[in-house]
């Protein structure tokens, strides 16, 4: 699934005749669109599973297959750009199913008037991201649309990988007694992207966390029984946990004080009135791990450069598919799916 931060708010009117920006926010509207418009029409078992990637059997080999569209604006943001994002996003979707990512494709939709220098930068960034992720970009497509039709450029990547024997990861596999881990501090990407938009410019310190998580995930899977993985992209950690609670039919409790957030991200969220739990990430995943193996998987994550701040943040319980937050005061409240994106507030 793709993720980019959008400052616009999405949801004010009853489901009407048109697509709203909120349908892309990763929250309730997105879920509704998928559930009501896509799955019933296209539906087949694997699609309905709604994993980050599909896992299909081809001649006895389990192939993971994913596709993702990237429309982030601005195209260049602190720490990265749409090119690296598009490769890492697809690589991570494969890794979230326990697959080893192997090959990616890229379709570019270019807006007439896009400076070739920018395009060159972005493609170089994609090449670099492929190298770092150990994948090869083996096929692609290019289209050009008229000025005004594409906001610079859009990138659509697809990817395939192989799920090794014995590895079974899926959104429906969480069980009561499991531990919930997060692989790193949350909120960095969304706030970094926002920091480049006019009117909310911060100085320097906020950087997108986009990164390929393959190595980190491999280390975690090797260390213990990792049942569920999902990268916490649009909608943030809170939205992802809601999706997983729903898919697995379990309750999840998160301890607010245990969720890592980098200090500058926290400061930015305080300033803008945002909740970091709902802000998009590009280099962080949520893992649900069997309770017995939680400590070992955590240690393995922390030993990896991309997981140095990994933390156990909650537990899975029996019950209705609700996510609850234990606040810093010790009270418990539901952590709901938002209707759409958060907006900066003055109040």
């Amino acid at each position: 699934m793709s993720a980019e931060f959008r400052m616009e708010c999405p949801v004010p009117l009853p489901p009407g005749a048109n697509v709203l920006l909120g349908h892309g926010s990763g929250g309730k509207l997105t879920a509704q669109l998928i559930r009501e418009l896509f799955v019933p029409v296209l539906g087949n078992g694997e699609l309905a599973r709604l994993g980050d990637a599909a896992v299909v059997d081809v001649g006895g080999v389990r192939i993971a297959f994913t596709t993702d569209a990237f429309v982030v604006t601005p195209k260049f943001f602190p720490g990265s750009d749409i090119g690296a994002l598009s490769v890492n996003g697809t690589v991570n979707d494969l890794a979230m199913m326990g697959a080893k990512p192997l090959f990616v494709s890229a379709a570019l939709i270019l807006e007439e008037g896009l400076p070739l220098e920018d395009l060159g930068s972005i493609v170089a960034s994609m090449a670099d991201a492929c190298r770092r992720a150990s994948v090869k970009l083996v096929t692609g497509d290019t289209k050009v649309v008229e000025r005004g039709s594409a906001d610079g450029l859009f990138v659509i990547t697809s990817g395939i990988g192989v799920v090794p024997d014995g590895v079974d990861v899926g959104p429906e596999l969480a069980r009561p007694g499991d531990a919930v881990l997060v692989s790193g501090p949350v909120g960095s990407h969304g706030v970094a992207v926002m920091s480049r938009r006019a009117g909310i410019e911060f100085e320097a310190e906020l950087v997108s966390d986009t990164a390929p998580l393959t190595g980190l995930v491999e280390a975690m899977i090797a260390a213990g029984d990792v049942r569920v993985l999902r990268d916490a992209t649009r909608g943030g950690m809170a939205s992802v946990l809601n999706e997983l609670a729903e898919a697995s039919g379990v309750s999840i409790t998160v301890v607010e004080a245990d969720v890592p957030v980098l200090p500058p991200v926290r400061g930015a969220c305080e300033m803008l009135g945002l909740d970091p739990l709902y802000v998009a990430n590009e280099g962080v995943c949520v893992a649900i791990v069997s309770g017995d193996d939680a400590a070992a998987v955590l240690a393995a994550a922390r030993a990896h450069p991309l997981g140095s701040r990994a933390a156990i943040v909650g537990t899975v319980e029996e019950g209705a598919p609700v996510v609850r937050l234990r606040t810093s005061l010790g009270a418990t409240r539901p952590l709901l799916l938002l209707a759409g994106d958060q907006l900066p507030r003055i109040c």
């Binding site: 400052m7 616009e8 004010p12 009853p14 009117g199 010790g330 009270a331």
Partner: protein, 367 residues
Amino acid sequence: MRFVDEYRDERIARGLLDEIARTVTRPWTIMEVCGGQTHTLIRQGIDQLLPPEIELVHGPGCPVCVTPLALIDEAIEIARRPGSILCSFGDMLRVPGSEEDLFISRAAGADVRVVYSPLDAVEVARRNPDRTVVFFAVGFETTAPANATAVKQAHDLGIENFALLVAHVLVPPAMTAILVSPGNRVQGFLAPGHVCTVMGWTEYEPIARDFRVPIVVTGFEPLDLLEGIRMVVGQLEEGRAEVENQYVRSVRREGNLEAQAVVAEVFEVCDRAWRGIGVIPNSGLRLREPYREHDAELIFPHEGGLASESEECIAGMVLRGRAKPDQCVAYGELCTPEHPLGAPMVSSEGACAAYFLAGRARAGVPR
């Protein structure tokens, strides 16, 4: 973060809760005026942790919620004009107007831009000299100095294409309106800490005296709110009715004189309609000369039809503390953050949205 984290300390919070429980001997109804305070109370679950004798009702301190419907409609009209750019705080984008909201209008092609500071809107005007840039100036007294500075800066620098659509509201007249309304049950107030940072608390002294209600100027972090509640309960139990200051690190009795001066230079007091409540005399601000040439209402006379609210929406009752969100027949069913009937379900510190997002079921209905 200093001056933030330490005011979220769990141990001290528990200590304050215990102290409140020890002090209270009978039921009391307390109103927190500010939407930001509502947000913290609900988000942290403080109202669940308080002893049952204490009932918190949420006040109208949410400028998003009380901005008149007609002004929302006007903002949308201005945004839809090809030659304008409408700049706004993020809070306003989802507030329903009579037909739609700013966000929908943006999807239909209107140039609507979210800004963090009103000075950013002046910058937009500077960079777009051929368009009229209108800043939707909502807020209580806290935001008035910032909005005043923006229009003063534009005026002094000769940025003629910058205008304000003014929707400022003032707190003390609203508190008084609540206290005089028949059926009022509010016995004590947590006054808004950032409004008082700017204005001081002298305006609240006659209210405390004349209505015999304790008023405690309170901050926004969990320990601030608990301490403020403790102080109000203390006064109520002792039969006192004074203005006290909990938010000592930011509020002084006289407030911020420089900020008050710029507000007085740019604005003057006027009557204002509060959405869901009605006209409260002398409860708003409007531009005074020589800044009237930057008044968007004069530049763009309102052309639209009569503003119309949903019939089910009881926002007015909620804003006055006369009803709780979960008592509304539309709450959680017809009216949710996805399709709000009224403003308090939109703004994250609106009472209805705060309840909804904290997972409160409709009274008597299992969720």
